[in-house]
């Protein structure tokens, strides 16, 4: 079962760059951040949905591609309960806001200039994507983004949406 499985030590799956992370199997730490739109968003309000939480910076080369991939997934599976939140860790919020305007996505882009949330999530790489299940548990963590990664995520996402 879910909680038993979380307690089990599970080897990282083969395939795309799913890596081990201290938070895997743990509750995703709750937080609230302001989005580029000015509205505040809180992670725990998404309980019941599967959440793609991604950390990115405007100077990270792979990030734009990842954000687009996530956006496509949300467009397709949004109705089935998939949501996404992108957390920007730039010191310069202006750069983040400009980027958001230049690359519109179909989910909130949040600003974490203090990097408090990034720290809570032990972000050690950009981009870093976490898959959070409907009960709020971190199930998978992906670092980096190569083309075709979203196909690998798809399998896991559908599994999580099933629950």
């Amino acid at each position: 079962m879910l909680w038993l499985a979380a307690g089990l030590v599970v080897a990282a799956a083969s395939g795309a760059a799913a890596s081990s992370h201290r938070l895997t199997g743990q509750s995703a730490p709750d937080f609230a951040l302001k989005a580029t739109s000015g509205t505040n968003f809180r992670l725990s309000e998404y309980r019941g949905e599967v959440v793609l939480l991604t950390f990115w910076g405007s100077r990270c080369g792979q990030c734009p591609a990842q954000l687009s991939a996530v956006s496509r997934l949300v467009d397709t599976y949004g109705a089935a309960g998939l949501a996404a939140l992108a957390v920007n860790v730039d010191d310069d919020q202006l750069a983040a806001a400009e980027f958001a305007v230049a690359h519109p996505v179909s989910f909130p882009v949040l600003l974490d200039p203090d990097k408090a949330v990034a720290k809570a999530y032990r972000v050690d790489n950009l981009p870093m994507l976490l898959l959070i299940d409907r009960a709020g548990i971190v199930r998978h963590v992906h670092r980096d983004h190569r083309s075709g990664d979203d196909k690998a995520w798809l399998a896991r996402i559908r599994q999580l949406l099933d629950e």
Partner: protein
Amino acid sequence: MPRRAVIAAGLLLALGLLPTHAAEPEKLSLTRVQDLHYGDVLFTTFVGNDFEALTRLESYTQWKLMPHHQGEAALLAGGLYLQLGMHNEAGRRFESLLTADVPASVKSRAWFYLARVWYARGYHDRALQALSRIEGALEPAEAAERVHLQANALMHLERHDEAITLLGGWKSSSSWLQYARFNLGVALVRSDRLADGARWLDAVGSIQTADEELLALKDKANLALGFAWLQAGQAESAMPMLMRVRLNGPQSSRALLGLGWALAATGRNEEALSPWLELHDRNLLDAAVQEAYLAVPYAFAQLGAHGQAAEYYEAALESFATERGNIDTAIARIREGSLMRQLVGAEDAVSPQRGWFWQLTELPDAPESRYLYPILAGHDFQEGLKNYRDLAYLGSTLSRWDENMAVYGDMIDTRETAYGERIPRVDGLLSSDALAATEASRKQVEGRFNDIVNLQDVAALGTPEQRAQWQRVLQIEAGLAAAPDDEGTAAAREKLELVKGVLYWDLHQAFRERLYQQRRALRELDKALTEANTRWLRVQQARATAPVTTGDYADRIDTLTQRLATLRTRLGAAAEAQQNLLADIAVHELEAQRQRLADYEIQARFSLAAIYDRAAEAPAGQGGP
């Protein structure tokens, strides 16, 4: 999640627990929250954290933190239990709560919501009981739904005539009416009152609407009526009904099938081919299409085109066999629990027993498991799925507690050590007379001080030497007083007078100052004593509220840890059972589909065999395989 919040708000509004917005363009009236903690529970509910809200509500109730809201809190608890799917508990709460103290409208609404949940869960009799407890009027929308609910429950319990009576006299303009008419029509037909039922179904089948939901209902009504006529052998009446069903709607396949039958039944086999051939091109997973695979060759055979009939039968056999094979595989996989792995192709070793219930309709690229589509939308399945998800959520909540328990255990150990040192000391101090003794001393000192003031006993405040001297002077004075009155004595007395005077003068001069000092000292002593007293009380109180032994906390932690473990096991077992049940539902449906295909195969074989026989008997040149 958002839907739940809406329901919660609706429930609270219904229960009269939300502030009503005044019609006047004034500010919102102040809510009636008189206990902060009750407000906290409301906040948590409004934000949508039902489970957390209930936890806090129960905890604050136990701590008696909401004295001004006892009735409301209990009602809210009932509502939250309802929200969380614990309708037995909700029912218990509502029953004990709905006394005369609560307004009738609140009572009625509570029963209404309860009835709704029980109906959805399949407890039709309990739903009816709850509905019967409603007194007075509901809001119009709720009143309409209430009638609809009652009628449905009656029909589920096969009490058709009561349903007929209920619905027959109901006038309403809401869409609930259409649903009710449909159900009534169906109920009448099933009670062999076709003519009556037809009237109602026809009414629904002829509504003018653009609403998608109502259009779907209209299709269902026409379909049901068409088939009812067909079954009664009145094909002519059936045809116009079936032709009303939308060609691109969800009921179109069955309507086409029925239309073909109506035509065939009146001997118009060639015309019957038209809808059936249309069906033949559609997806074989549809039961109507499967039947069309047999209906088409049947028509050909009726028309004498046995060659074509045979071809179609053979094609049907092939398709059915393939399809049956697919279903067999799906059944096997579900039983194995590995359909999931197949679906997503992941080698993730995290629990193979995952849910495979999938909102297929939401996806553009549905996998082969669309066999399951009919049951996924089904009520039993959806309820079961909800249970499964609830259990998963609860499980993760308990997991979090598990982590905390270890921490608390450590805290207790640390405290135990600290308490172990301090408590005996504190107890020793508290049980000693220290404070009382000090107070007694103070009283004494004050008494003495007052005496000095009253008697103006200047000597008392002198330095030790002065007091000693004074004593000496008094002694000598006394001695001289007793001595005979001669010159020597007189001289001595004079001298003494002098010394005494000087001494007295010194003492007197200093008296006021010293008095003032003494007073101040006394006051400071008072202050210190008051503080000591307060602190004493605080220590007493703290000591009283500290656990009798920290062993008390340790015991609680132990007990709770055990309960956690037991509950998690039960949760796991229930989730497993729920999964199996869902699998059973799916397999049951799949087996039904499989059986139907098998029956059709047999039918096709017989028909094909008959054609071959016929060809064999026929003189050469006629017909043929």
